[in-house]
Amino acid sequence: MIELDTLSVTFAAGSALRDISLKIAPGDRLGIVGESGSGKSLLASCLMGMAPDAATLSGTLTIDGVDMSDADEETWRPLRARRVAMIFQEPMSALNPLRRVGDTVAEPLRLHFGLSRDEAAKRVAELFAEVDLPNPERRARMFPHELSGGQRQRVLIALALACDPALLIADEPTTALDANVALQVTDLLVDLSEKRGMALVLISHDLASVARSTERVAVMYGGDIVERGGTDDVLHAPQHPYTQGLLAARPDPQAALRDEQGKRKRLPTIPGNVPPLSGLAQGCRFAGRCALERPDCATARPVPHGPRMLLCPVVEGAA
């Protein structure tokens, strides 16, 4: 359905996405994991045709067999909401504060499907019920500030579902929410994807929520996908040094806190800092922080290999 082939995005400061290849089939649930500056949100905006004006795209981005990599706004517009929909991190600011949320959700219905006011209101109530908003008719008449953070995110999900998209992109949908609300929202997304046969791309820095909700995962670092495979395989047996470091650096609340001498256990760390866009290496972008680094890692472009896609010249890929 959606296919990226060596898609790259370049800014004046440097290259922000490098040779990204991905396939998303109907009903797929794909997690994209990475820290700040990994390019995961930029990748999401590319899938919506909403990359910043300053960005230069190369490679191909195919939706339903049509190459959209240099399509203009008018070509993209019919696809948005109907083929690809998106929800964002901040549910408060993502809703127009001056409009009743029901009107916001009804707008694309009336615009794209030509529904009448009453038909649209009815459909909005159905959608609100589908995303588990209690008392849908009443909620529809409320303003965003009258709803809680979790309810707002549900409204945004309903808005995204309004035109039956084939793919829903969720960009850090739970980061701004409290923990138990976040769990509910994540579970709702999985549920909707299964019921509707809708593909889901979940972008997150939170490994736990990706583990909970996706079948496949792509780990990004510095604009590269460094490792890609089944979610369980990647998160339980990571092969790329970066994925390994990232997983190890998470403190485990259930693990023993102190060693035999009664000293606190230190966490395994990845040395150094996430490099800025302009400071990325020509070769492997993880060079400089990697424990397995060889002399030519920083200069030689790594080639993706292995049954589980791996972008590391040192590690031999395995399934």
């Binding site: 403190p251 606190r264 990845i270």
Partner: protein, 256 residues
């Protein structure tokens, strides 16, 4: 030995009036919180937005006064001290903040910012600035640079260096690692553990993330909407949470 003793801490914020008559509505930020921190020990406070954890930090730092309750540091009631006495005591308890980009004055060199607590105390800066930079894993020469020349993780190191430069007994950390990437977060957590062992620091460590608190704390306090849900030994709570809410926080922090 008890270093900090908070008893019955309560703080309300007045909300704007909505009707002409009747009492003014108010928001309960924190209600009847009591806890102690012993020298060299770490108390973790876990809670989400609106739980009152930041209010707790401001009360302990004596940035604002509680509506009820008291905070005693080293036996002295912080909120009844005179302003000069409070200022003289301040070097003993310091704070680090969430946003590494907001906690350093962008117009001041790192060395100037590090020297501020010393100047406030009226002590000589001497080699202390260079020493504390080295102590947090940076270089003495970094004192002449500006904050924007550093990454987020490095800035948090600088903020920590400033907080320990007066050799405090207590460090209050409000979401100090939340804004950092996972790979950098572990470095800062390790640094805090190192410093705690070297300096015998006691810590009040506030976070929304159970996993981070677990890595660092001896005792735990779980806050929700201003109320203390449960508190006690960290390992005990982590292994057998009494409250459903605590359990959901643990699930959220769970390993993938």
């Amino acid at each position: 030995m008890t270093l900090l003793r908070a008893e019955g801490l309560t703080r309300h914020y007045p909300l704007p009036r909505t009707r002409v008559l009747g009492p003014r509505p108010r928001l309960t930020a924190i209600e009847d919180a009591s806890f102690t921190i012993s020298a060299g020990e770490t108390l973790g406070v876990v809670g989400e937005s609106g739980s009152g954890k930041s209010t707790l930090a401001r009360l302990v730092m004596a940035f604002e006064k509680p509506d009820a309750g008291s905070v005693a540091f080293d036996g002295k009631d912080l909120h009844s001290l005179s302003r000069p006495d409070l200022r003289r005591l301040r070097p003993e308890f310091q704070m680090i903040f969430q946003d590494p980009y907001g906690s350093l004055d962008p117009r001041r060199r790192v060395g100037w910012s590090l020297g501020e607590p010393l100047r406030a105390m009226g002590t000589d800066e001497g080699r202390k600035i260079a020493d504390s930079l080295v102590q947090v894993g940076l270089h003495a020469e970094d004192a002449t640079k500006f904050p924007h020349e550093f990454s987020g993780g490095q800035r948090q190191r600088i903020a920590i260096a400033r907080a320990i430069i007066t050799r405090p007994q207590l460090l209050v950390a409000d979401e100090a690692v939340s804004a950092l990437d996972v790979s950098v977060r572990a470095q800062i957590l390790n640094l805090l553990m190192d410093l705690q062992e070297e300096l015998g620091l006691a810590m009040l460590f506030i976070s929304h993330d159970m996993a981070v608190v677990a890595a660092l704390c001896d005792t735990l306090m779980v806050l929700k909407s201003g109320n203390v849900l449960e508190q006690g030994n960290a390992a005990a709570i982590l292994n057998a949470p009494q409250h459903e809410y605590t359990q959901s926080l643990l699930t959220a922090a769970g390993t993938p």
